[in-house]
């Protein structure tokens, strides 16, 4: 297993056509503290001789390395051809097959749909390889065409060597087939946080096509453009690439309550039914960083977030409970009853949050420090919050509403598989889809079954 900073994700890097793992050397140097695994794809770099050239096989090749070497969260970075492989792996991960992926960085990435390449150019590149390994001139031409400004000599030389040592069969497999395969339907829309990087001077895989072909597959994507770079950004501007990766890893870690790999493997196992697995994976999708509320105003959402921070304090990788409550109110999903003394759920939330803000004074609830927030909530709980002018809920109603808030918050928190892992609850794995369900053979105290995980908290002890 590889390891870098404690709990930091491992960064997996996939190179472009004709390149190799070492095309990321200068980037990796600048990611000190992170464990990085740059992988030679079959037919390239040190993996020449390996014949798993199809897109699917390349993805399998990478997946096998990840399974063998990573036992925690990871982020995938894909450059050009490697970008298409990265997206396929991201989809596998979201569907439960490859646990632990926290974020995706695409650099001038080839999209899941057929890559837009000028026909003449494709024909020329195929012609180079059709007769065997590329000549020095052809390789130099290929690299030069893909950069905005000359590279340092040593970098240029290494890049040309990489092109020349590529297996021409792998080169052709990508140009004739892999780059043309249409995976877009199978990929659908992914929810992992993604960063899509384009070079300002790139051609077919520049910003416009990145927005058109890659961005629609990621519901939570940012697009960044590196000025003065063309297609070979890791070689051209390694510092800028490393900075973007570093920033995105921070965001990915912060926005994602991670499901630890042992629990993700449990969810993927045959002890969990297909229906339950789909439910859990769906619920584990990261919250949108810029969630726009449907039922609450953005001010009310901010107050609800501040309230949730006290009702269900979460240390790291917080689940956006407030956004999830708003989404639930929007979907009209009640729980079958309500206090007769409260208005309908959405109205009660709006009125409760407004009253809370007024009772908190000039800066609103979010303006209070933790101690004052808790003091106010204790009074509300006791039915004794200040009667404030313009308040829409009375103190007695506020006490009832606060009870609903507590229940809603804790339910949404516990519904998340990351929380199940945290508390060690594995009842979701009590039976798969076989004719006989597994259930539990052991039911007594201090007698876990061999497969049963412990609470994350205890695992850390």
């Amino acid at each position: 297993m590889v390891g870098g900073m404690k709990d930091a994700p491992v960064i997996v890097l996939l190179h472009a056509l004709g390149a190799s793992a070492r095309s990321f050397d200068a980037v990796v140097d600048r990611l000190a503290g992170y464990a990085c695994i740059a992988i030679d794809l079959p037919g390239f770099g040190n993996a020449v001789g390996d014949t798993d050239f199809t897109v699917e096989e390349m993805a399998d090749h990478v997946a096998a390395i990840i399974r063998a070497r990573i036992d925690g969260p990871w982020v995938i970075v894909g450059h050009s051809m490697g970008g298409k492989i990265a997206t396929i792996l991201a989809a596998r991960s979201e569907h439960g097959a490859l646990p632990g992926l926290a974020g995706v960085v695409l650099i001038a990435a080839s999209p899941p749909s057929p890559e837009p390449i000028d026909d003449d150019r494709r024909a020329m590149m195929i012609g180079w390889a059709a007769k065997g390994p590329l000549t020095e001139d052809e390789a130099t031409n290929f690299v030069s065409e893909n950069i905005a400004a000359p590279l340092p000599d040593a970098v240029m030389a290494a890049a040309v060597v990489d092109v020349r040592r590529s297996d021409s069969a792998a080169w052709l497999a990508w140009l004739e087939r892999g780059s043309r395969e249409d995976w877009s339907g199978r990929i659908g829309v992914l929810h992992l946080p993604a960063l899509i990087v384009a070079g300002s001077a790139d051609g077919d895989l520049g910003e416009a096509n990145q927005r058109r072909l890659n961005a629609p597959h990621y519901a939570n994507a940012d697009v960044a453009v590196i000025d003065g770079a063309a297609h070979l950004m890791p070689l051209e501007q390694p510092a800028a690439v490393a900075d973007l990766i570093r920033q995105h890893v921070a965001i990915a870690v912060a926005t994602r309550p991670t499901i630890p790999p042992h629990f993700a493997r449990l969810i993927a196992s045959d002890r969990v039914s297909a229906r339950t697995r789909a439910i859990l994976i769906d619920r584990a999708r990261p919250d949108a960083v810029d969630y726009v509320p449907h039922v609450l105003s953005s001010g009310q959402l901010a107050t609800l977030r501040a309230l949730m921070a006290r009702v269900i304090p979460q240390e790291e990788g917080a689940i956006d409970l407030a956004a999830r409550i708003d989404a639930r109110l929007h979907a009209g999903e009640g729980d079958g009853w309500r206090f007769a003394d409260l208005p309908a759920d959405a109205d009660a939330y709006r009125a409760g949050l407004d009253t809370l803000d007024r009772a908190a004074g000039a800066g609103g609830f979010a303006g209070l420090d933790d101690e004052r927030r808790d003091a106010l909530l204790m009074r509300i709980e006791d039915g004794d919050c200040l009667v404030v002018t313009d308040a829409t809920l009375s103190p007695a109603q506020m006490a009832l509403w606060f009870e609903d808030v507590r229940a809603d918050g804790v339910r949404i928190w516990l519904a998340h598989p990351a929380t199940m892992a945290r508390i060690g609850y594995d009842g979701i794995a009590s039976g798969g889809d076989g004719w006989r369900k597994q259930g539990f053979a052991k039911t007594r105290a201090d007698d876990p079954e061999r497969w049963e995980p412990r609470a994350t908290k205890e695992r850390l002890r």
């Binding site: 039914s273 339950t276 439910i279 609850y425 889809d433 039911t443 609470a455």
Partner: protein
């Protein structure tokens, strides 16, 4: 359940009976009438499912609950939804806990014995005969010797005990309280269901409240309803009964229902209203039917269902195993108690979300106090009671000013404990705390709670004070019958479903006699 091969009737067919609701009250009588050769159609508001469709995921399992909004008030507003009502072919038995003690003879005669409460208009031995029939049919697992009723025998050996049960057994033993394996309507061995499919032995998965994927737990869709369909009954899922048509003499002629937004009517010779303790009175109040006594909606009852939880040094994993595998009937009549009636105790396994909801609501927990508690989930275990609730005038169901998606007024349920329930609650709380201390629990927590929706259409000897007669027939409309939790005159300490199923067969027999 499989419905593709079932017999179907046209709306213009004059069927012998329409049954509204396919839960514990509706299903057994549907089967009995079909077996007798009658043409019967059941209308069920909820959908039809296969056992394999269920999921242990607590949020998703909310699909089994009746989620149309009800308004709750009074001193102890009742949580509906997941706490106490279900929908779908099988009704609340899809997610019930299958804990099935028998009703105690003394509980049926509270008025005669204590001067308080009410008597049931049914003899205990007659009820027990029906209960034994139900137990044999659905396959109840229980101990070989039942300490409080030595003659009793169960068709199947008990299900496995879990960590909560062991803790309760130890705590009770230390205090001299008798316990035994709980009677559970769960098959502890593979069971070829008469009229239905093979029901697999319980695998201790612990998710009974989310629906049993093995059909080990009795639910109507794996027991009485397949039998009914095998004998020619038709079950129509997704059909919400909204009206009852009558002729000039006031007798029922048809039931009006809504399916996919379209109104239909089914002609029938009689109707059995089995919608449960909330929907049955709501429909009757809305239609203004069968209420010359003024008793429809009155005397709403909910069992005192206080729980006591604690943290154990050992890892309990109380989600594993059949959730309530231990019982004590010692407190059915507690010595020197200042209340009438009594309570049953049971060990508890509860899944995290359900437990945390009770902690957050009744337990008033939030902040670190709540998250730290749930971080210890693997070490928590609980014990709870089911205690007598007497009928009381202040506790009732009325119609709210708001309407639901069908245009029917929403139910408003007003509930609070009175002196007897408060005394039971206090006694049980002390007892359970003592048991949990003796069992070695730390950080003991009391969670006030009430459960089940009982009463609102009580049965009795006289039409002045009751909605239905001792067999469930309306005093006002002679071809309208009610069979569900609403007809209970008092709550009984025993959990209700077994008694409801028994009453259902008895009502069917009475109806058949009159045919």
């Amino acid at each position: 359940m499989k419905l593709d091969q079932m017999r179907r009737y046209a709306a213009t067919d004059m069927v012998d009976a329409v049954v509204i609701g396919t839960g514990a009250g509706g299903a057994p009588l549907l089967a009995r009438l079909a077996q007798a050769g009658l043409k019967v159609v059941a209308l069920e508001a909820g959908p039809n499912r296969e056992p394999g469709d269920h999921t242990p995921d607590e949020t998703a399992a909310g699909e089994l609950y009746w989620m149309d909004e009800r308004l709750s008030d009074g001193a102890m507003p009742q949580a509906f939804g997941g706490n106490n009502s279900g929908t779908g072919v099988g009704g609340s038995t899809l997610h019930w806990g299958a804990f099935c003690p028998r009703p105690d003879a003394r509980d049926l005669r509270l008025r005669s014995l204590t001067g308080e409460g009410v008597d049931w208009p049914i003899r205990h031995d007659e009820l027990i005969a029906y209960i034994e029939e139900v137990e044999r049919f659905i396959g109840v697992s229980g101990p070989a010797d039942y300490p409080w009723d030595t003659a009793r025998r169960y068709p199947l050996p008990p299900v496995a005990r879990n960590a909560s049960a062991d803790a309760m057994a130890a705590g009770c033993a230390a205090l001299g309280i008798v316990t035994t394996d709980a009677p559970a309507a769960v098959v502890s061995r593979d069971w070829q269901q008469e009229g239905g499919d093979l029901r697999q032995a319980c695998v201790n998965c612990g998710t009974c409240h989310q629906g049993c994927r093995n059909a080990a737990k009795t639910s109507m869709d794996t027991t009485y309803l397949p039998l009914a369909v095998a004998h020619g009954a038709e079950i129509r899922p997704g059909c919400m009964a909204t009206g009852i048509e009558r002729d000039a003499r006031g007798r029922v002629t048809a039931v009006v229902y809504v399916r996919d937004g379209i109104e239909h009517r089914q002609r029938c010779g009689a109707v059995f209203l089995c919608g449960g303790g909330v929907e049955t009175p709501r429909l009757l109040l809305h239609l203004g039917l069968a209420n010359s006594s003024g008793q429809v909606g009155r005397n709403f009852m909910a069992h005192v269902a206080t729980q006591v939880w604690g943290r154990f040094d050992a890892e309990m994993r109380c989600n594993r195993g059949y959730p309530s595998s231990l019982i004590s009937e010692d407190m059915l009549r507690a010595e020197g108690a200042g209340f009438i009636g009594g309570y049953l105790m049971q060990s508890l396994g509860v899944l995290p979300m359900t437990l945390a909801t009770t902690m957050a609501r009744g337990g008033r927990r939030w902040g670190r106090g709540l998250t730290a508690l749930m971080d210890d989930y693997l070490h928590l275990a609980g014990i709870g009671i089911n205690g007598e609730c007497l009928p009381h005038d202040d506790n009732c169901l009325t119609l709210a000013n708001e309407t639901d998606a069908f245009g029917l007024p929403k139910a408003r349920v007003t509930f609070g404990y009175n002196a007897n329930e408060r005394a039971i609650d206090a006694h049980a709380t002390d007892t359970m705390i003592a048991i949990w201390r003796a069992a070695g629990a730390h950080d003991i927590m009391v969670l006030p709670r009430a459960a089940h929706t009982i009463g609102t259409c009580r049965m009795g000897e006289s039409g002045d004070a009751a909605v239905v007669d001792p067999w469930g027939r309306s005093f006002d409309i002679d071809n309208l019958w009610i069979c569900d939790n609403s007809i209970f005159p008092s709550s009984l300490a025993a959990n209700p479903a077994l008694t409801i199923m028994a009453l259902s067969l008895r009502t069917a027999d009475r109806f058949l006699k009159g045919q």
